[in-house]
Structures are given as structure tokens and as C-alpha cells.
């Protein structure tokens, strides 16, 4: 085992334009959140990709388990009435 310490792993989310959702772009190593924020800016916004940055310690992210799959997600699949395409609107009706 190495005695070296490369810092904590952080996940980075970027908001490309104001108002849009934050999107996961990758990760980086840093010893604390101040360093992590600066690094995120240097690493992930070199080509003007950023309006806002979120950083989260990788260990703090709670993710669904792969095995959750069916029980977790399938029930959403058969409730098609949640989608606008399910409904028939007569031609000519506007703004709906």
C-alpha cells in the first residue's frame, strides 16, 4: 500500500447555462472543498463549458443499487398516462 495521499475524490457537476440542470462531467482529487472548487474550474471549464459548478465528495453520493432495477424503476414504465403523448387532442386546438 502506498504511503502517498492524493486527496479525496470529488465528483463535479457543471451547469452550462443559467437555468439549466447541472450535469455530471467527471471527478478530481483535492484535499478540501476550496481546492476542489478551484480545480473543477481549471479542469472542466477550459472551453467555456461553465456557468455554475457543484462539487460533491464521491463518498457522499448515495446511488441506487443495480439490483434495485426492476422494483425501483419498472412501475414507472406502465403509467403512460403521465406522458402528454398518451392524449388525443383534436386538430386545430392550440396552446395545449
Amino acid at each position: 500500500m502506498s504511503s502517498d495521499d492524493q486527496g479525496i475524490l470529488w465528483e463535479v457537476f457543471i451547469q452550462v447555462k443559467a437555468g439549466r440542470a447541472y450535469k455530471h462531467v467527471g471527478s478530481l482529487h483535492a484535499y478540501d472543498k476550496e481546492m476542489a472548487m478551484k480545480s473543477a474550474r481549471d479542469l472542466y471549464t477550459r472551453r467555456n463549458e461553465g456557468n455554475g459548478i457543484w462539487i460533491v465528495k464521491a463518498e457522499d453520493i448515495v446511488s441506487s443499487e443495480a439490483s434495485d432495477g426492476e422494483a425501483f424503476f419498472d412501475p414507472s414504465n406502465d403509467k403512460v398516462y403521465r406522458h402528454p403523448t398518451f392524449y388525443k387532442i383534436p386538430d386545430g386546438v392550440k396552446h395545449i
Partner: protein, 250 residues
């Protein structure tokens, strides 16, 4: 006035050029990958600033361009500050040098936003955004190194001590400074000292780094064309190809 304006642009351009060059030497040698990336960003920004000032100087001179100024000028015609010529002794030296220059640049570019010279004003508008970030970075590192471990504190103290003597040059006025001030193009270098000192001393104190003594060093300055022994070697490397192949364009 024109000669002094050219001289002033060369001072700012050459200083950023050589500082950027020192950063380029450090490529792939940083303590951690993220830092290699970050410090290169600073180097790229500085190169951009250098190019802007050298382009302007070239336009004013006529019959030349930024590349010719960079690669074909003799040492004595460079106007870079001594501080930027100092070598990459270790990470502490690199950050101390950067911190001193970032404080200087931030104060200077802020004042240059009032310049009567349109071009200098334009360059400064862009540069100040970059410099604000550079200073945020370097002052953060000074703190980390000052307060980190006993070893890092010793190393940064050492670097601050050794580089201190080069900071005098940032605040002395020569005939160029007097002319720039008279024509409302730039502030006197001496007018930057108090703000710079305050900024630097505050950060050093917060970082448990002792402020070195203010001694007068009898030095002849880079902004007057008298350089450290380091510059010769830097230029030998930087100018090597165009000098070896004088007819070539790259």
C-alpha cells in the same frame, strides 16, 4: 512620449512573457496532477497578456511584430523585472514569485482601468479578470504552505526571504514611469507600494510567515535593461530555433 510608452509595454509584456516561460519549464513537474493543469492555465493567461502588450509595442515601433520582439531581441533590450527571471527552485519559490507578481498585477491592472490609452485599457480589462483568479490561487497556496506542516512553513519562509530583495524593483520609478504618469496612461510604480505591502503582509501574517526586513539593495534593474544572470540562459533556450534558422518562419 512614444518611446516611453513602448518601453512601458515592453516592461509589462516581457515580464509576463518570462514569467509564463518559467511556468512552461515546470510543465509535468507539479506535485499533483490537478496542480499541473491549474498552473498551466496561469501560464497560458500570462502568455496571452504578454502577446497583447508586445503586439501593441510592435505596432507603436513599426516594422516589427510580437514574434520578432520575442525571438530576435538582444538581452539588453528586454525590460522584464528581475523577479520573473528567478528560477523554479522548488514549489515554494514558484508560488512565492507568483504571489508577489499576482498582487502587483491586480493592483496595477485595476489602476490601468483608468488609463487614457485605449489599448492599455482594453488589455487591462481582460487581464484583471484573469489576475483576480491567479491571486485567489496563489494566496491560497501561500496560506496552505505557511500553515500546513513544519517543513512547508520553512520552505515558504525561505522562498519569501530569498525573493524579497527582488520586490523593490516593482515600486521604483524611472523616466518611463514619470512619462506614463504625466500623460495619465499609467500610475507611478511607487504609488503601488503601500497597497501591495498591505496585501502581502496580511497574507503572510495569516500564514505564520515572517515578513522579511526592508533593506535597500543596490541593484540595477531589469526595467532599465540590466538583468540577472538567469535571463541569458532563458533567452538562449527560448530564442534558440529562430536564431539558428534565421530565414525560417514557424
Amino acid at each position: 512620449m512614444k518611446d516611453e510608452l513602448i518601453d512601458y509595454c515592453l516592461r509589462l509584456g516581457d515580464s509576463s512573457l518570462i514569467l509564463s516561460h518559467r511556468i512552461a519549464e515546470y510543465c509535468s513537474k507539479a506535485p499533483i496532477l490537478e496542480e499541473d493543469l491549474a498552473i498551466t492555465n496561469v501560464g497560458l493567461d500570462l502568455l496571452g497578456q504578454a502577446e497583447n502588450f508586445l503586439n501593441y509595442a510592435a505596432n507603436l515601433k513599426g516594422n516589427t511584430n510580437a514574434d520578432l520582439l520575442t525571438f530576435k531581441r538582444r538581452e539588453g533590450d528586454f525590460r522584464c523585472l528581475h523577479l520573473v527571471q528567478t528560477p523554479n527552485t522548488d514549489f515554494a519559490f514558484i508560488l512565492a514569485r507568483q504571489f508577489f507578481m499576482d498582487c502587483y498585477h491586480q493592483i496595477l491592472f485595476k489602476k490601468l482601468l483608468n488609463s487614457k490609452d485605449e489599448t492599455i485599457l482594453g488589455i487591462s480589462k481582460k487581464a484583471i479578470k484573469e489576475v483576480n483568479y491567479h491571486l485567489d490561487r496563489s494566496s491560497d497556496w501561500i496560506k496552505r504552505l505557511g500553515l500546513g506542516t513544519k517543513e512547508s512553513n520553512e520552505r515558504i519562509q525561505n522562498a519569501i526571504n530569498d525573493l524579497w530583495m527582488y520586490t523593490d524593483e516593482l515600486f521604483t520609478d524611472n523616466s518611463t514611469d514619470l512619462s506614463m504618469e504625466k500623460n495619465k496612461i499609467a500610475p507611478l510604480s511607487s504609488s503601488l507600494k503601500d497597497e501591495w505591502s498591505q496585501m502581502v503582509v496580511n497574507t503572510l501574517k495569516d500564514s505564520e510567515i515572517e515578513v522579511p526586513e526592508d533593506i535597500y539593495y543596490s541593484l540595477k534593474y531589469g526595467k532599465d535593461g540590466f538583468h540577472t544572470e538567469y535571463l541569458g540562459y532563458i533567452l538562449a533556450e527560448m530564442q534558440h530555433l529562430p536564431l539558428l534558422y534565421p530565414d525560417a518562419t514557424w
